[in-house]
């Protein structure tokens, strides 16, 4: 047993770097994957739509914990010894893509059908139609649910401790096991999570106001 001191506090703050790295991986991977899923999910091609429905059902319907577990231990069994970071990247990206894809599909469908029809009448192709007409309008509605999900995702990175990451929550557990000060340690862990999530919400509020101005009629 040892005292909780400056050294232990530094360890906690230092462990938060993994939370940040993993969250960035999940945001970027999920952002790209989610956009692809959302576009295919709203495409005219039935096969693409069907495939994306299956993808979304699978990754929304299974726990992230199991996805991480299978990505790391499952692949190792079949001879692909994956680095934990790669396994986390795969699982977090697939998980975030499943959710963001479905959120953004809803936002794309919320743009009035007349907008699409009008741009077809103007002779805009699919790419230009999405880029200049549909997505900018969808983005405005997309901000609040997207940020809500990202905040949740940041906290869910704590599940990566199952495959060996010592991120913020896990470091808290380890330090608690030697200091026996759970209230202090977990209180600090919660405060550090808050310090990471709150700025996200602030940025979201600003973006929302900006987008509202841009699309005001």
């Amino acid at each position: 047993m040892r005292q909780f001191g400056w050294n232990e506090f530094q360890l906690l703050v230092f462990a938060a770097r993994w939370t940040i790295i993993l969250a960035i991986i999940a945001f970027v991977g999920g952002g790209i994957g989610g956009l692809i899923v959302a576009l295919l999910r709203t495409a005219d091609n039935r096969v693409a739509r069907g495939a994306m429905i299956v993808f979304i059902r699978v990754f929304q319907g299974t726990p992230l914990l199991m996805q991480l577990f299978l990505a790391y231990f499952g692949m190792a069994i079949f001879g692909f010894t994956v680095n934990p970071l790669i396994a986390a990247m795969i699982a977090l990206t697939a998980h975030a893509s499943g959710y963001l894809g479905e959120i953004w599909r809803g936002c794309i469908e919320a743009v009035p059908r007349g907008q699409t029809e009008a741009s077809i009448a103007l002779g805009l192709h699919y790419f230009a139609r999405m880029r200049y007409v549909v997505l900018p309008q969808a983005a405005r509605v997309a901000v609040p649910p997207t940020v809500g999900f990202l905040v949740q995702l940041l906290k869910e990175t704590s599940l990566t401790s199952i495959i060996g990451f010592v991120e913020l929550a896990r470091e808290g557990q380890i330090i608690t096991s030697v200091t026996f000060r759970p209230f202090l340690v977990y209180g600090l862990v919660a405060a550090i999570y808050f310090a990471m999530c709150w700025p996200l919400s602030l940025v979201a509020g600003r973006m929302e106001r900006g987008l509202a101005r841009a699309t005001k009629r």
Partner: protein, 263 residues
Amino acid sequence: MNAFRKALTIVAGLLLAAGTMSAHADAMQDIEAHKAIKVGMLVDFPPYGLMNEQNKPDGYDADVAKLLAQDFGVNLQLVPVTGPNRIPYLLSGQVDLLVASLGITPERAKSVDFSEPYAAITIGVYGKDDVKVTKPEDLAGKTIAVARASTQDTAVTKVAPKSATIRRFDSDAAALQALISGQVPLVGCSNVCYLTIQKLAPGKYNKKFELSSQVQGIAVKPGEQKLLARINQFIDKIKANGELDKVNEKWLKEPMPAVLKKK
């Protein structure tokens, strides 16, 4: 058994099945060829496994692992694992062996092969002085805290009557906190944890009854006979030359328990 543990057991079983299908190279040869050994150990189970002030794995298990690597003449790489994921780490080949305070139980012996014991813990039920419990039947209608997926979890689950409530926590520390903050009157834990209870709240809690004394072994993947024989040779050596006694004195402040001496 809770859902999470059940799911892990199922997945571990699948991994085992897949693992035995693919014929694997001899682990002992791998270790000698790479001149390195990957050892999984707990880091939240003091004094057996912990992170020291330098944030490096340390403790009884770490010292045994260091002696083992020295004896094998290879470099040591300590891999921190947790209680629920240590067996998957071993079966999927992410570590060569576990010196992870893994109690030798018939249940676990189905999925891993154990060496001779290298450590022992006695576990029991502890609680407030005024709680009258002397045998498992007395747990009826009472609440008892344990660390999830631990040996004491299995032992308490086995002996507790149906009307007892077992509250499972993520770690011993959380279970002890529940006891000390008064959320539960009883806890199932080891002699080691009891020392901690005594430090935090001296004289308020005592031992109700002993569940078992649990010996711990070094675990290897099933069928790694050569590696296992070499580990047993190492354990015999450190028991005979007093090095294991020193490790016990250092971390547990008592000589090697008698249960380790008999063959």
